[in-house]
Symmetry: C2
Subunit: 753 residues, 2 copies
């Protein structure tokens, strides 16, 4: 099969860079001092029996982070970054992830390396076998597995353009076999560029196993964690590969197929046995050391380079029969792996030629790649100090490899904890969705972003699928309920019929009609508001009643915003937001207008600046709270109290900078659930039930929460919210917020709790 | 208690005209010739055991139409009109409702008058007793019962303004007792104005019972259907009233309390026995003859007058002790009832004085009433021929009362059937909601309009409540499903993952990115469309592929409508709308662009005019189909085919006047369910299930419906509709439409089917 000619067909051009990717990243948990921990896998991460994202590898301390299949490199890294962040924030805050493939100093006694405490006894038995066969120390090395699949569109079109292979499955297998043989032949180049295990830490090697350090990659050399040398298989054909592997197992050289630690592993059906039938569906590259300079152990540029390199290897002709071609590569790889990291490789010329050929291929095919990508790697070939191993070794020379690694780990740790209300990789989404995804990943619930701009997620556990939008719109609420809550008149009628106190009032569809009704509203506190708009637009409040003139003016404003206008009695009291999920009050929030508390020394301006230093405060809804502004509205509010921003309020005096209590204009959110007795919670729960809602934020106006809710006019209800804000509850200004996102997850997947 | 002074308090002014109303209207079913029918109560109307709106009174032929409690007179008449229309269109189309209180000619044999065939044996027994006690013929008279309750706001405020009566219940009872005594005293005035039974038809009276006809009101005279003369109760106090009634029952003068046919009946608790405890909650006026000139037997003006009159009677002082005051009224009423309808009443002067006093009261209190209302009634007093009885008798003189009544009934019948896709009283609502309400009323499901502009209904049967918007948004669908369908990208992903054929394509958020992807779409049929807008805005279709220039232009148009744009493969074929409810395909619709079929004789213009004569075609979505326009777009479409509106197409030639098949631009809807085999229906059902929807309109593009759905590319799915149009299915241009509204009702209330 001449893949070279085939790939050059111009029709394929739009599909060449389409592929599917996945990454597995291993990493040891260490203390903040960079020492291996002796703690168990974090319990917050749910059960490893099913966890799709966060597992342990050989040892209990050895995290394995697994991305789902991604359709692009950026999607891959969004998920990889997010899973890292979840892992970090699910661990003890005093622990972090070791950024090197070589483990930190290991325990003196081998038996102190704790094998992963898995539920499945077979998994434990397998690890015990490995410990016995290779020693526990050897198993402590970590790496990156890079899963790669050409897009089905590309392969289908290639398949259609040829006639030599009749079956699509066979065609795909041929593609991956060629790529694999070439990759095995050129693996030395990957080891040269990305090798990152120059030096071992104490107690990794026993006796005289240790190579002549520093090298480029201990892990990719014969000193790494490799099969015993008598394990050999052929890559000539899939049939031969399977026959060989089966023979190894039958002869007892391998305990089972998965013990075969090749640089490239074929992936097909669920089990190795399915491979013959299913053919090769994708390949897994296993020769990548953790890149300490990439927070996730592999950089986006590396991932992009590998894709281009694999495509190039499909195109590039093999220059010898399979067994020679592969064996030749293995020999060169061992040489390169054991070279001094700061010395030029003996294959420098061939490396340069190969990369320049790759560059030419990219240009020839018109592939769009990141700026400077190839230049970086060409430069690495010319300057060994620029390789990953070169850089790591150079930096370690100044102090020690441990100190360099610890410093990097601390930086990663600090970044993961800096904004606990965000989820890296998905920061373009709404905060509530970010935290919802965080919780789902932590719990081991599979998450797929169906539409990030629409906050639309698909969650699944086995066959159980749930779709969720905005982290609070789910299958548990019915279609009619949000429509009911969106209509203030309908909401009031329903609550009224159910016996709740709602503001009396009327709906008008003409100014004249509303003006005529003035006598009904004269002399009492009223609210004039558009029927269906939101966010306070067009609303006028007359706490003490309105003159006919003011009433008319307010109507005109309201009718500008909507064709229907409500005039309602005004409820005086404090407004509390009750967040109800599945018949339970999960949080009660008081919102207080933007304010500062005087200390008798600092100006209002300075007090605002200090308050804004809270990491929970940001701008543009990227944080649970907003920074207090000092704009016109704030200055008017101050002026009405006789203040200027340069004034110094007395000690403990509260100065308000806004009339409205919206969090979006710098207000404080205060968690007050404990302050309330059960009676008001019952009112909220029953009102939400009357509305038919399962997830609902309901606002109660309460003049005095110490008076029993059953007293006359103890409370009033104005509306229910079908898309209630969640972050102001979860990360309040004061108090400990309820984890509403986890409550929603429990509602959706009770089987996981 | 001086209600006069109390009512004059200015604070009460805004509440004086607030009240709650209800009407019961009886009426005999007759043939189109005006003869009593011998058919049973229509089976379409469900079971009379529970039907809240449409019952039978004494006889099987005697409909009783009952409104729910209304908060205004216009609401009352909306419902009353609607219930009439439902009754009409649920009856055999060859039957109609007799517009007179006096029945049409009765059967020769009394036993041929069929007592209502009710399920409840006690109800049947009671009717048998009545038949025996009064004779079946007497029971065949019909009337209006007008239920009236002052608003609670008014009574509460009045109660608060006095201190004489300590208990609110007692206060209300005092209010209604006074009103009742005064009403009984002045009932002769109501008989004068509204009496409408001047002449009896054959076989109503037996022997010499018949009065000296014509009179004003046989029904309100002693010749009408009255208690035996020894039945007398006191209206002095509620206690005395109850004692008297109990005595009548104990003495066997009444079989039970409800046999007491007073002009005013007190209503309190559920049973008469509860009245003592509950007090009088509202009153029922029973002395209203059917007004043949009002389609519902009572006009809005009458209802308004009665409200004003009752308010006036609360204000007006009684001028004699209760028993004298009432007895005096009864005597005068008998006199007036038996006067000749064209003669001035002997109480003309008092009548005029009373009405002028009422008018003064209205002015004094500043009550807003309909223009000319009082003038009309004052004129009736002056001119007997203007009274209802006067008019009916005058008209009957020319032919016969039967002919006049038959003509009126035929007009009502014709109006009720004229637009079967509407529901009178609610024509401001969407057609689908009108028909949905029709079906609910027919089935005996209680309907409350929570918001007419929002098409928001509350339905209930016992404790089972369902809210419905747009007749298709219900509690049966989940919140997330319409959100999923609103997002085309998410819809496609979900359908694709479930194995359905959806258009391949990509989503772009910048023009540049989309232009770069051009090679992926070159040379194939594509659609360029904004991600989330609807109704075809910003969509470009290139069935044969687009040049780069056209592609860019289409992108610019699409990006003007949305910030995200989809480019998708084009599916060629015919689009069919599958309407799925609860896992079943209820209808399949083909929409064809506006067109006419030539006859070789008439011009396109004339053919359009003829097609537009179809009563199903209207304008502005007030009909299931829209009239074909002859505007610019139509002329362009014609021109592209080489036509002008004055051209004459050949016989059987189809000329299209639009490119798009929307019903809103004059397209034809064609019901084609029978055309399809089960396989495509299964695809639709499964796709809707994959989307999680219960009520859904899903569009399948099918190049050839005779090819099995399992064939490759036999169909494609573009989107699901979460607010699918219903009327185009129910009343199609061609074919018999499925009653989708009834299917939705069955989904919501299976217990009623």
């Amino acid at each position: 099969m001449n893949f070279k000619t085939l790939l050059e067909n111009k029709e394929l051009q739009p599909y060449l860079l389409k592929a599917r990717y996945g990454v597995e990243r291993e990493g040891q948990r260490v203390t903040l001092a960079g020492d291996l921990v002796d703690t168990l896998h974090p319990t917050t991460l749910g059960n490893r029996k099913y966890h799709p994202y966060i597992q342990t590898d050989f040892a209990e301390t050895q995290l394995e982070l697994i991305t789902p299949v991604a359709q692009s490199i950026s999607e891959l890294f969004d998920f990889l970054t997010a899973i890292h962040e979840v892992a970090y924030r699910s661990m003890n805050p005093e622990e972090m992830i070791w950024p090197l493939s070589m483990p930190p100093m290991l325990p003196e006694k081998e038996e102190d390396i704790l094998i992963a405490q898995l539920d499945n006894f077979e998994d434990v038995l397998y690890r015990r076998y490995l410990a016995k066969s290779y020693g526990r120390r050897k198993q402590m090395v970590s790496g990156i597995h890079y899963n790669f699949e050409f897009s089905d569109e590309l392969l289908q079109k290639m398949f259609a353009l040829q006639s030599e292979i009749k079956e699509y499955t066979a065609f795909k297998t041929a593609v991956y076999l060629k790529v694999t043989r070439n990759y095995l032949h050129y693996s030395w180049l990957v080891t040269y560029l990305f090798g990152a295990t120059p030096v071992s830490e104490a107690r990794y090697f026993e006796g005289d196993e240790r190579p002549n350090e520093p090298v480029r990659s201990i892990r990719n050399s014969s000193h790494g964690y490799k099969n015993h040398p008598d394990v050999k298989v052929s890559y000539e054909s899939l049939e031969q590969y399977i026959v060989d592997l089966e023979r190894m197992v039958n002869e007892g050289k391998l305990s089972e197929e998965k013990e075969f630690y090749s640089v490239v592993r074929f992936r097909g059906g669920k089990k190795m046995a399915d491979l013959a039938e299913a053919g090769i569906r994708y390949i897994e590259l296993r020769n990548l050391d953790l890149n300490p300079f990439a927070p996730c152990g592999i950089s986006e540029e590396q991932a992009e380079f590998l894709h281009l390199f694999l495509l190039f290897l499909l195109w590039k002709e093999e220059e010898a029969p399979a067994h020679i071609w592969v064996t030749d590569g293995e020999r060169k790889n061992e040489e390169v792996a054991l070279e001094h990291p700061l010395q030029a490789t003996r294959y420098q010329e061939e490396a340069l030629e190969t990369l320049i050929a790759l560059q030419a291929f990219i240009e020839e095919q018109g592939l769009r790649v990141s700026d400077g990508l190839m230049g970086t790697y060409i430069e690495m070939v010319k300057t060994p100090a620029e390789t990953v191993a070169g850089k790591l070794y150079t930096q370690s020379q100044k102090t020690s490899q441990k100190e360099v690694a610890t410093k990097i780990a601390l930086e990663n740790h600090a970044r993961a904890w800096a904004k606990p209300y965000q989820l890296a990789g998905f920061t373009q989404m709404e905060l509530s969705t970010q935290i919802f995804m965080f919780d789902a990943i932590q719990k081991g619930i599979q998450v797929e972003v169906l539409d990030d701009r629409d906050q639309f997620l698909k969650l699944s556990v086995g066959n159980h699928v749930e779709y969720v939008k905005n982290a609070n719109m789910t299958s548990k609420d019915s279609y009619i309920v949000p429509l009911l809550m969106a209509n203030k008149t309908v909401t009031k009628k329903v609550l009224d019929q159910a016996g709740f106190r709602v503001p009396k009032g009327r709906e008008f569809s003409s100014l004249e009609e509303a003006v005529t009704a003035y006598p009904e509203f004269a002399g009492q506190g009223i609210v004039v508001k558009p029927k269906s708009t939101n966010y306070g637009i067009g609303i006028s409040i007359f706490k003490e009643g309105a003159s006919l003139e003011d009433y008319q003016a307010a109507l005109r404003v309201a009718f500008e915003a909507d064709e229907d206008v409500l005039v309602e009695e005004f409820f005086s009291g404090t407004e509390y937001r009750f967040f109800v999920i599945d018949g339970k009050v999960k949080g009660i929030l008081l919102r207080v207008p933007a304010n500062v508390k005087g200390d008798g020394e600092r100006t209002i301006e300075a007090l605002v600046a200090e308050k804004n230093r809270d990491p929970l405060r940001g701008t543009n809804h990227r944080s649970p709270l907003e920074k207090i502004q000092l704009g016109d509205l704030e200055k008017i509010a101050l002026k009405s109290q006789g203040y200027d921003i340069t004034d110094v309020p007395a000690k403990d005096e509260i100065v308000y900078l806004r009339d409205n209590s919206n969090i979006s204009s710098g207000g404080d959110s205060i968690e007050v659930t404990e302050m309330f007795n059960e009676d008001y919670k019952e009112v909220a729960v029953k009102a939400v039930k009357a509305l038919g809602a399962v997830i609902c934020g309901i606002d109660l106006i309460i003049p005095d929460h110490t008076i029993p809710a059953s007293e006359k006019d103890a409370y009033g209800i104005i509306e229910g919210n079908f898309n209630p804000a969640m972050m102001m509850h979860i990360y309040p200004h004061k108090g400990i917020g309820p984890r509403l996102t986890m409550d929603v997850l429990e509602l959706l997947f009770p089987e996981m709790f």
